[in-house]
Amino acid sequence: MKKPIIATASLAGCFGCHMSFLDIDERILDLVELVHWGKSPINDIKTFEQDCDIALIEGGCCNDEHIHTLRDFRKHCRILVAVGECAIMGGLPAMRNNIPIQECLEEAYLNTPSTAQANPERILPNDAELPALLDKVYPCHEIVKMDYFLPGCPPRADLIYGALTALVTGQKAKLPYEVIKFD
């Protein structure tokens, strides 16, 4: 049987979920036996050279580039897994959802102790190259269909490993009580 190909992406996240994935430690060697790697920040492959079987998505969508990336993953990957609270519910970035964007930007770039002095012309980032912020931070499943959800901030390494090996070996994931936590 052909080895399945795994891709990963980090959208509006802190890379903590990717770090937790690396926390599977030496079990990564077992995984290497089972899978090939596609596009991922871990190996720095930036394009889909071929379609992938499983994609782990960290983070929700807070700008238009995230939406574009997520749709691209949906197009090229058979199974999308939302990894972590940010991907599932927006997580900490979504705490801005009830604050007007203008206020968020002014707070970050004009009013904090470190920016008030350093930005005398009171410039807000406005380069055309920068992705445009969305009105809200959106969980992944509100943008595209997601197939599985692994909660946690970050999800326990054991949960990620268990779910991933279950997926690639076609078994049912074991979800012991201690590995499913939202924090």
Binding site: A82, E85, I88, M89, G90, G91, L92, A94, M95, N97, N98, K136, P139, H141, E142, M146, Y148, F149, L150, P151, C153, L175, Y177, E178, I180, K181, F182, D183
Partner: protein
């Protein structure tokens, strides 16, 4: 809707999930179940213990997580008094899925950012989500706009996490019996208001009791957060309900 519950000495026989149990007339199905070591989930109802300082059980009947089927009809176990020959279904796939749905609705209706919540690990709503294996709610997040009140020196009141269970309204009082929390408005505008003047002067013990009585992280005692290490918090090791033995009878079956 019963808020405090009177019992008498008449003995009633009923079954829960096929198990025959006895209860005193006037007891609710929930009380009868608890007394017999049978777990029915609760969010708004609260059993009186030394720890929470309640003199009698409360059952506002607001959350419906305790929904059971009584002779085939769905009822709230915490507000329905036992009657002779009741056939109660409780731990069934259908009811547990219904309960999971209620938990999911509560999650999307408020703003529950567990990683930043000081009640995380000891929160009844989160623990129920673990128990029913909610990996993600089936509904859209509302991201409702809710206020936080951090004015009081001892309590933080975060409406983002309030599930409107009314426990605080019924159970948290000053020493001379004044309510610290009240209910306001109706329907999707309903909310809890806090008496800022009274809350300003509460003692450490009262603040602790208030945090304890709130099933979620809406009432947080200031400067006390995250004081139990991860792994040792209330629901870190065992699911909510796994300790169900009645605290007054210590698990002795009546």
């Amino acid at each position: 809707m019963s808020e405090t519950i009177e019992t008498s000495s008449e003995i009633i026989t009923l079954t829960i999930d096929g198990q025959e149990i006895q209860a005193a007339a006037g007891q609710t199905i929930l009380q009868a179940a608890q007394k017999n070591g049978i777990y029915i989930p609760t969010l708004c109802a609260l059993h009186a213990t030394k720890e929470n300082g309640l003199e009698s059980d409360i059952a506002p009947g607001t959350c419906r997580i305790c929904t059971v089927k009584v002779n085939g009809r769905t009822m709230a176990a915490c507000t329905t008094p036992v009657a002779q020959g009741f056939v109660v279904e409780n731990d069934t796939e259908e009811l547990n899925d219904l309960r999971k749905t209620i938990v999911e609705l509560l999650f999307v209706e408020g703003n529950h950012f567990c990683p930043s919540c000081e009640k995380s690990g000891s929160c009844d709503l989160q623990a129920l989500a673990y128990r029913y294996q909610m990996l993600s709610p089936r509904f859209r997040y509302a991201f409702s706009s809710r206020e936080v009140n951090a004015e009081s020196p001892k309590l933080l009141f975060d409406r983002n996490r309030c599930i409107l269970c009314r426990r605080c309204v019924l159970a948290i009082r000053t020493e001379d019996g004044k309510q610290l929390f009240g209910f306001t408005k109706r329907g999707d505008k309903s909310g809890i208001i806090m008496d800022e003047e009274l809350v300003k002067n509460i003692s450490e013990e009262q603040a602790q009791q208030a945090m304890h009585i709130c099933p979620v992280g809406a009432i947080i005692r200031k400067e006390k957060g995250f004081d139990t290490p991860f792994g040792q918090r209330k629901y870190d090791q065992n699911p909510i309900g796994s300790e169900t033995v009645c605290t007054t009878c210590n698990g002795e079956k009546s």
